[in-house]
Every structure is written in structure tokens, then in C-alpha cells.
Symmetry: C2
Subunit: 312 residues, 2 copies
């Protein structure tokens, strides 16, 4: 094989009550990477589309090439020459795991070119290196579901342990990205370093409830459990009309509503695609009324993760 | 039916990482209540055994009669006359849910005498009233498993929502009660009101991991997840040679080790009864060497909760 074309999905991290430990992958949007073996050793990024010039072509500074280089080093293939095209098909800085989708597409492409048959989950340490570069924090709650598909629990970082979780097959996700700027670093910095123990207890009761709902296909229990008393009240301030969007979502039949990652994207869970479409339409209309452009997506949960779109 | 004799089990609350939200019931020890219908309205406590005179016979001050009275009021049967004998068959102030076992035995006896066929779980609000009186804090993580059996998650207090969890059938519990005094109120008061967010994240990753282990019968995952970075480091100071006891437990094949409730009892999970016996014997010997008497118990998980020992 000399070239491969890979898609990797957007992801929703935190999932309201699971700050830094939970995430899931969606079917769309996502990013694509076309990777070719070249005769000259080293990694180059020959093209990036869809980024409005915001991402670096310099392979030392791009998360895709940096994580792929870590991977090649680990398998002793620094001798390989790779040409990477990155096609951004989802918004940057949206809170939907944009850098993770690119990184995972790159790593999965490299793994495929090398004929490496390991479980994609084993690429996680290299993807985390990419995240560390993109956000200044080597978190795994976007890259793990992007790599592994479905819902993923990051139980522990030291040692790293991630767990695939089951999820209800009739669960749908409505995503709205209001086109305002909420940089990940800043969204993380405004969070308090200390929290009240009683709030932490409320939070871990909800996390345990969400886990129970996932394991028992109880979407209503998932909804009751998806409350965040710690992070959301702070981050919601950075998101336009957050509580109004929640009201619209819940009034239109959402099971739950919250911030995706560090925002500004928000998401709702529903029990069918029609309800999800109604929610995205109504929230998009509300945002348009207050002069905020938005992009919306309706998707089932992506149980697969990255996929090969073509190879030669 | 004029009289009933009921057993209710001891319970292990917190389960290391699930402070205030998780608990499970054991097969032994536990408390017993004998309850008789009398001709004179009102509740009396005619006898308490096994308490060394520490518990009040005054029905206004005893958690058993207080919770039973709340229950009778709720079903409109204040007219009933009840005579209660309480037989303590487990140590008081041990961190094994002693007051909960008594309260649940009393409530289950009253429910049985009234022919009330509701699920025992519906008695939980009355049992919580008993806990509020016993510990100054209306927590549910002992009474819920004592009433419902097995592992129980207290997802939320307002509104109250408890969830029965599955558990591995080959899980055993070794319990050691070092006979030193750790009052529940004080054990709660030394806990810090504020915790570091990063520690809370570690904790809820572990809680989610423990939930995953329970749902997938993965005892090793349960063990890896049963780490408490928040409460144990503080409460361990009140327990003699806590870290030495952990070392003995782990060296003898324990899957996990921690404080039961607010202590001083400690417990270990094992995959068989023999390992649990070896652990209790070795820890009891170590405590004897440092002149501390102890009581030990080995038990499977009690999936049933309270049970009727006799009725007339």
C-alpha cells in the first residue's frame, strides 16, 4: 500500500458530569487525512484544507505530524518518508475535539500504511502527545473515543487505563456550534482549582448514575445523571445564551443538554433522530435571532472510530 | 401475625472511592429485632441485648423506634401498639453500619407485621430519618444496602434515587474491626470541606471504573479502581496501623483494601473465602501483637438484605 485516505470522528468530551474522564464519538463531523509513502525519509505536510490558514504546515508544530512521528519512533520506522494532506471537515476551536480528529486520522493512516494490526486503542499514548501540543494538557477524553469509537472512560492516567463502555443503540446526539471563540486553554483556566466536597459527592453520584444508565440501556437514567454542578456553571458564562439553549432543547424533548468539551459547542441527547433535528433547528433559529451564526449536526453514536475511505 | 423476628445485615459504606454514594451488604454480622403487636397504642422498647447498656430504651431516642414511628405515621397506623426487642449481634461504632442494621431490622419487622407488600427499598426515607438521629447526618449509603441487599448506588439525595447494582458472585469480603473508638461524627468532621479538582477527577475516574467492574464482573478492575485519594488519607490517621494492615491484606492476596464507612473497621475484597480467612487471621494476629483486640468476619456479598428468622 502506498497511500491511504482516513476519516476520524469528532468527539464530545466530559459528557456533562464526567469532566476529564468521559467522551464519545459521533458519526459526523470529522476530519480526513490522506497519507502517502515517499522516497525521502521524514514527515512533510503538503496540504491543509478547510482551516482558513489557521494550522501550521511545519511538521514540528502540527499535532498530526508530531503524534505520527512519536508513533514511528516507537515502532523503529523513523526511516519512513510520509506526505500528509489534512482536510479539516469540522470547525477548529469548537469543543468537538477538532485536533483529536486530525491526530487520530493521522495515526490511523500511519498504522494502516505500516500494516500494524494492533488495536487502535494502543495508539492512545501517541495521540495524547498530540493533545499536549494542541491544548497544553495531555488529556485523553477526546482522542480515546476518536480512536476507539463509542463511549470511553479514561479511568486513570498513571497508569493510563481506558475502558470501552456500552451505550444504547437508539441514542442520538444533536450538536450546535455557535460561532464564537472559546479557546480551550482559557476555558480550562477559569475553572476553580478547589471544589466543595459536597459538590464533588453530587458529581460522582451522577457519574456513577451515568455509568449505570450506559450499562443498562437506560437513557432516562443517563439524562437524570447528566448534571454538572462544578464545571458547567463556570464555563456556561463563556457561551452565548447557554441556559436559553438548554430550555429550547429540553422543551423540544431532549433527554439531557450540556457543553461539549470546553465549548462553545453544546449537545443534547435524544431518543430519536427527529427530536434531535427539531432541537438543532430551534436552537439555530434562536442563535440567528441574536445574530450568532451556528453550525449543527445530528448523529448517532459512532461505535467504530476511524475508518478507511480509500487506499492504493 | 402477632410477632416477627428479623435479621438485617451489616454494611460497608463508601467502598473506598464511593464516599457517601456506594455501599454493600454482607451476610454476617448483623442485628436482630423481635417485634410484637400489643394492645396498647404506642411503641415501647422492652429489651436491648448485646449493647453493654450503650443504647437508649427511650423510644423517642432510639433510632429503631424513631424510624418505625415515621413509617407508621406514613401509613396512618399510629394507633398500633408495638413492643420491640433489639438484639445487637454486631459491634457499635465499628463503621459497619450498626445503627442501620438495627433500624432496617425494625422497619422490615414493622412492614412484615402490617402485611405491607411494597419493595423494601420504599422504606428508605424512614431509615434515613433513623440515620439522621444516629449520626447527625441523614446519609443512605448504609441503610440502602441493608434494606435492599447487594451493592447500592445512592445517585442523588434530592430527589432521593437509589440504584441496585450487579456484583460478581465470587466476590468475598474480609472484615476486621480493631476495637478502638472512632466516633462517626468526628470521623466526618476531620474531612476537609474543599478538595482539589484534580483529586476529585482522579476519584470519579475510579468510581466510574468500580461501576464498570461491577457491571462486567471484573474483580481486578474493581480492585484497581478502589483507590481513595481524598477521604482515606485523612481517616486512616484515626485507625491503628492502617497502612500495615493494608500491606498484610495485599501481601496475602487481597484485590483491594480500605476503610469501611468512617472506620475503624477495614475490609478487603478477595476472589475466594480462603484468601479472606487468611487475611483476617494475619491482620488479627498483627493487631494482637500491638495489643489491640479485634473482631473479624468473612462473608460473601449479601444479595438479599433483611430476612425473617421467625414469625407467629
Amino acid at each position: 500500500m502506498e497511500s491511504v485516505h482516513v476519516f476520524a470522528p469528532a468527539t464530545v468530551a466530559n459528557v456533562v458530569c464526567g469532566f476529564d474522564i468521559l467522551g464519545f464519538a459521533v458519526e459526523a463531523p470529522g476530519d480526513e487525512v490522506v497519507m502517502r509513502v515517499t522516497s525521502k525519509p521524514g514527515i512533510i505536510i503538503s496540504k491543509i484544507t478547510g482551516d482558513n490558514g489557521r494550522l501550521p504546515l511545519n511538521p514540528e508544530k502540527n499535532t498530526v505530524s508530531v503524534s505520527v512521528r512519536h508513533y514511528l519512533q516507537s515502532v523503529g520506522r523513523n526511516d519512513l518518508g510520509l506526505d500528509i494532506e489534512l482536510h479539516k471537515k469540522m470547525p477548529i476551536g469548537s469543543g468537538l475535539g477538532s485536533s483529536s480528529a486530525s491526530t487520530v486520522a493521522g495515526l490511523f493512516a500511519a498504522k494502516t500504511l505500516l500494516g500494524d494490526t494492533r488495536d487502535a486503542a494502543e495508539l492512545l499514548p501517541f495521540a495524547i502527545e498530540g493533545e499536549r501540543m494542541a491544548c497544553g494538557h495531555g488529556h485523553a477524553d477526546n482522542v480515546a473515543p476518536a480512536l476507539m469509537g463509542g463511549f470511553v472512560l479514561v479511568r486513570s492516567y498513571e497508569p493510563l487505563e481506558v475502558i470501552r463502555l456500552p451505550f444504547p443503540k437508539d441514542l442520538y446526539c444533536a450538536i450546535i456550534f455557535p460561532e464564537v471563540d472559546v479557546p480551550t486553554r482559557e476555558a480550562r483556566q477559569i475553572i476553580r482549582n478547589k471544589v466543595a466536597l459536597k459538590d464533588a459527592v453530587t458529581q460522582w453520584g451522577n457519574i456513577a448514575g451515568l455509568m449505570s444508565g450506559l450499562y443498562t440501556n437506560d437513557i432516562d437514567l443517563m439524562g437524570r445523571s447528566m448534571q454538572d454542578v462544578l464545571i458547567e456553571p463556570v464555563r456556561a458564562m463563556l457561551i452565548p445564551d447557554f441556559y436559553k439553549m438548554r430550555e429550547i432543547a429540553m422543551d423540544n424533548g431532549a433527554v439531557s443538554f450540556g457543553i461539549s468539551g470546553s465549548g462553545p459547542s453544546v449537545f443534547a441527547f435524544t431518543k430519536d433522530a427527529n427530536t434531535a433535528h427539531k432541537i438543532t433547528q430551534n436552537i439555530q433559529q434562536h442563535l440567528a435571532d441574536i445574530k450568532i451564526a451556528s453550525q449543527t449536526y445530528v448523529s448517532g453514536i459512532n461505535g467504530v472510530g476511524p475508518k478507511i475511505l480509500g487506499q492504493h
